[in-house]
Amino acid sequence: MDQKNKILVKDLNLWYGDKQALKDNNLNIKENRVTALIGPSGCGKSTFIRCLNRMNDLIDGVKITGEVLLDNKNIYDKDIDPVALRKRVGMVFQRPNPFPMSIFDNVAYGPRIHGIKDKTELRRIVEESLVGAALWGEVSDRLNTNALDLSGGQQQRLCIARTLAVKPEVVLFDEPCSALDPIATGKIEDLMQDLKKKYTIVIVTHNMQQAARVSDYTGFFLLGRLLEFAKTRDIFENPKKKETEDYITGRFG
């Protein structure tokens, strides 16, 4: 059964000032699947994922051409509000970044800024999101403690809960495990398998085993170009391009 396309990227180019960081990228991201983007450091995979929720808008001197269609609507159209877009396309970052406030307030942050004031409603969303991020059992009795007191892995799952609380359709993960130990990493990888039932997931990772374990589709980036994109099994067992094969067999990276 073929899955619907959630995001279609067409001829995407990006420049930081004069330096071109992304070149003519085309890609489709399937709904309710995990799409992994791999490649050596500096290949543009993080820059690419940040185009999908227009986080690059926050950086001075970035120029983007091409289209990113979310449900067939270009998110770079003039009538699209990046603030509203980021509500639909959430993001979890490389280093856990909970705000210096309580666990509850961290998760309630998104719903609150989007206008939910009702206390019982907020409590319901916070619980649901923490359950969704597999963190509820560990923190349900101390929602009012400072989020910075949690371990790194817990903080990252809190950030996932915080993202889920906004009820996004797509969740972007930008190397979410690079600051975590193997056990915390394992928990987040397991979580992704749950999350993809409800959300479309894109993950950037420099860890090829991780891409192989969690993703349904994999794209290989090199020097700002999406060199190869296919079902994860095909990429790892039968890469078409020599560079892809060299990278996944560890001949460079």
């Binding site: 603030v83 877009l85 980021r86 509500k87 970052f93 970044n97 210096p100 609150r112």
Partner: protein, 290 residues
């Protein structure tokens, strides 16, 4: 025979110089306490702090009206400078395009470099007259006029320390907030300001210290009447302006002389406490972001 070790020498010389600064501070403290405190063998501490009559010819030294005027001037200045300074800090750190930053930031630094007598003369001509006309007063030389000019003088401190505090909030926090669909303003007031709050408070405290110690600009515009200040639209006299005006006529080591030193001890101790407080807050602000 020890070898000559330039590294160690440099370290020692630098340490000697920094110790000098501490020694000077201690000497100043010793001097003013030594000059002032003998007052209390003749005048009660409470009579000094809470008495409202100041008559040197009769050796009556009640400093309450000076203390109250000094605090009124200081808090009046902060009431104006904190909202202005904080807005300016937010603008500079979060909103201003680079060209605007390049104009505003140096202008503010320049503001900090203007000698206080210049502020005083400016205030005497402009602010005092404006107060005189606006409020239809017998004289514009009021506590309000002093508050206004002080507020301008403490702005640079409040702005630069608050701006540093806001800019020290890690980019990760900003991105986390924006990634959830927060607007600029939501990010500023829900994430950045709370995260920077300790640094901002430290800036306000330092501004407070500057305001309470300021003398020249204040003495020119406050009217210098030794009466208990009943509001912001009346003249008054602060601790420091009383010292400035009377020190010339006080006989060395007389009771009057000692009383003037005691007037100096009040803001001195206050500023000391404030700077300890603010340096603690600033360092804690930095610790929070590792």
């Amino acid at each position: 025979m020890g070898r000559f070790e330039p590294e160690k020498m440099v370290g020692r010389v630098l340490m000697l110089f920094s110790i000098t600064a501490v020694v000077v501070l201690l000497l100043i403290m010793l001097f003013i306490f030594n000059a002032g405190l003998p007052l209390f063998t003749k005048v009660g501490v409470l009579d000094f702090l809470f008495g409202t009559r100041w008559v040197p010819s009769k050796d009556v030294y009640g400093a309450f009206q000076f203390i109250v005027a000094a605090f009124m001037v200081t808090f009046g200045a902060l009431l104006i400078a904190v909202p202005l300074g904080l807005s300016c800090a937010i603008f500079l750190s979060e909103i201003a395009p680079r060209w605007a930053k390049n104009i505003v930031r140096p202008a503010i630094e320049l503001l900090a470099g203007i000698p206080s007598i210049i502020y005083g003369v400016f205030a005497l001509v402009i602010i005092v007259n404006a107060a005189h006309i606006t409020f239809n007063l017998a004289t514009g030389e009021t506590i309000l006029a002093a508050s206004i000019i002080l507020s301008i003088m403490v702005l640079p401190i409040i702005i630069s320390i608050s701006q540093d505090a806001i800019e020290a909030v890690p980019r990760l926090y900003r991105e986390g907030s924006y990634a959830m669909g927060a607007t600029d303003w939501q990010t500023i007031h829900r994430v950045l300001l709370p995260a920077a709050s300790q640094g901002i408070v430290a800036g306000v405290i330092l501004g407070m210290g500057r305001a309470i110690g300021e003398t020249m600009a204040v003495v020119l515009v406050i009217g210098n009447v030794e009466k208990f200040p009943t509001g912001f639209l009346v003249p008054g006299e602060t601790l420091t302006s009383a010292i400035l005006l009377e020190m010339g006529e006080a006989v060395v080591n007389s009771l009057h002389y000692r009383a003037l030193f005691c007037l100096g001890i009040v803001p001195f101790v206050f500023v000391l406490v404030l700077s300890v407080l603010s340096s603690r807050l600033i360092s804690r602000n930095h610790e929070r972001f590792e």
